[in-house]
Symmetry: C2
Subunit: 246 residues, 2 copies
C-alpha cells in the first residue's frame, strides 16, 4: 500500500512545477521501467505488484494493482510505477545532427520525436522554453524508454541558434522551402521543427540558413504534415545520406 | 438546442456498430467540417454555434457551445459538429503505391497514416478486418480532413494479398529485412505495416515478397519505431524515387 505522502508526491509529479521542485518524474509500466533501470538514470522509488525488478530493496515497495489504479495517469492499467530523478543536462555541443523544437505543444508529438532521435542517433534535442515538458507523464510514456538516452535541453532557442558557429547550417521546414530530397544537406547541422498550429516563429525563422520542404505527391489539399511525421521524414533523409549509414 | 433524438444519434455514433447500422459518422471542429463540406462526402446534419458554413439550410441547426459540450467527444471545446454519410468504397484497383495495415489498433496512428497517404498521393488504404475503424471519432479527428480523400477498404488482408497479380511486389518491415535506403523498390506495390505490439501476422508474413528494414543509426537500444513513424519513412522513401516526383 502507498503511504499518504507517497500518493501526494506521485500525484504532484503530474504537474511541471512539482517535477521541477522535487527534481523527480514518474514512469508507468514494466517495459519502460526495465529500460530506465538499465540506464544511467537514478531510481528514487519503485512501486510494483510483481516482484520482478532488480532494484535496491530499500527503494522497492510491493503494492496491489488496485493501489496503482488510484494514482495512475494511464488509461490502460499497469502493474508498476517508478519515480526517477531528473538528470542534469550539460550545455549541448554544437556537433552532429541536432533537432530543435520551437514550441511543440503536444506530449505525444514530443514523445515520438524523442523516440525518433534515439533511433536515428541524435543525442541532443534542443527545445524552446515554450515546448511541452519532456517529463510530462504522457511524453515519458510515448518515448518508450528513449527518454533515458536522448538529452533534452530547454533554453532560449533563438539565442542558442544565434550563437552557433557560423558554418553550422540551420534547417527549417517551410511551404516555400526547397525540395528536401534534392537539396544538398549536411548531417552536421540543426533541424528546426515548429509549433503544431503556427509553425516556426518569426524570430527563429530569421536564423534559418536553409529553408526546406517535403514535397507533396498527392493532390495538394492537405495543409501540412504532423510535426512528428515531418521529423521522421527529415531524420530519415538526413541519416540515409550519412557516409556512416549502416 | 439539440433534440433528444439528435443527442441519441450523435452519442450512438461513437460506437462502431451504430455507425455501421446508420451509415453515418461524426466530425467535430470548424476546420475539418469545412474540408468535408468541400469534398464529395454527403452531409447528413450540421450543428454549429456560428453561422459560417455554406450548407443546406434544412440540414443546419444553430446551437450553443454549451449544447455542444454535452455531446462532444473532444477534450478541447469545439463550436461545430457535423454528421456525414459514410461513403461506399469500391474494390481497390491493384495499381500505384498502396498501403496495407495488419491490425493497427491505435486511432491516432490510423489517423496519421491516412493523412500521410493523402500527402503522398496514396489513394487506397487497405485494412485488415482487425484494424481500428476509420470512422472512429478519434481517427476522423487525427486525419485533419484527409478522411474525405483517401479510400479506406476493410477486407481479409491475407486473401487480398494472395489474389494480387504475381508481378506486384508486397513489402513489409522486419528486423531481418534489407536496408530500405539501398534496396531497389518500386512505387508500384503494396507496403504492409503491422500491429503496434505484434508486427505483421504470420499469415500475412508469408505473402510478403520483399522484407525491408529501416536501419537504426543510434545505439540500437530502441525496439522499434512507432507504426505511423515507420509509415512516414516508407512513404517518403518510395515517393522520392518516383520518376514523377515534384
Amino acid at each position: 500500500m502507498f503511504s499518504k505522502s507517497q500518493i501526494k508526491l506521485i500525484k504532484s509529479l503530474s504537474q511541471k512545477k512539482y517535477r521541477a521542485r522535487h527534481g523527480l518524474f514518474v514512469i508507468e509500466g514494466k517495459k519502460g521501467i526495465f529500460e530506465l533501470l538499465s540506464s544511467p538514470l537514478e531510481l528514487h522509488s519503485l512501486f510494483t505488484a510483481e516482484d520482478i525488478f532488480d532494484a535496491a530493496e530499500e527503494k522497492t515497495y510491493l503494492i496491489t494493482e488496485g493501489d496503482l489504479k488510484k494514482v495512475s495517469n494511464q488509461q490502460s492499467p499497469q502493474t508498476a510505477l517508478a519515480i526517477f530523478h531528473i538528470p542534469e543536462v550539460v550545455q549541448p555541443k554544437a556537433e552532429g545532427l541536432q533537432v530543435a523544437l520551437d514550441d511543440v505543444q503536444d506530449p505525444g508529438n514530443l514523445g515520438t520525436i524523442i523516440r525518433l532521435c534515439d533511433w536515428f542517433g541524435v543525442e541532443d534535442l534542443i527545445c524552446s522554453q515554450g515546448t511541452v515538458d519532456c517529463y510530462n507523464p504522457k511524453v515519458v510514456q510515448a518515448t518508450m524508454g528513449s527518454i533515458s538516452r536522448v538529452k533534452v535541453h530547454y533554453l532560449d532557442l533563438a539565442e542558442y541558434l544565434r550563437e552557433l558557429p557560423k558554418e553550422r547550417p540551420v534547417y527549417g521546414t517551410f511551404l516555400e522551402g526547397k525540395n528536401v530530397y534534392r537539396e544538398p544537406i549536411s548531417p552536421e547541422g540543426v533541424v528546426v521543427l515548429g509549433n503544431e498550429g503556427n509553425g516556426i516563429s518569426p524570430e527563429v525563422e530569421q536564423l534559418i540558413t536553409q529553408k526546406l520542404n517535403i514535397p507533396q505527391f498527392g493532390k495538394a489539399m492537405t495543409e501540412s504534415l504532423n510535426v512528428a511525421t515531418a521529423a521522421a521524414i527529415f531524420l530519415s533523409e538526413f541519416s540515409r545520406r550519412k557516409p556512416t549509414g549502416k
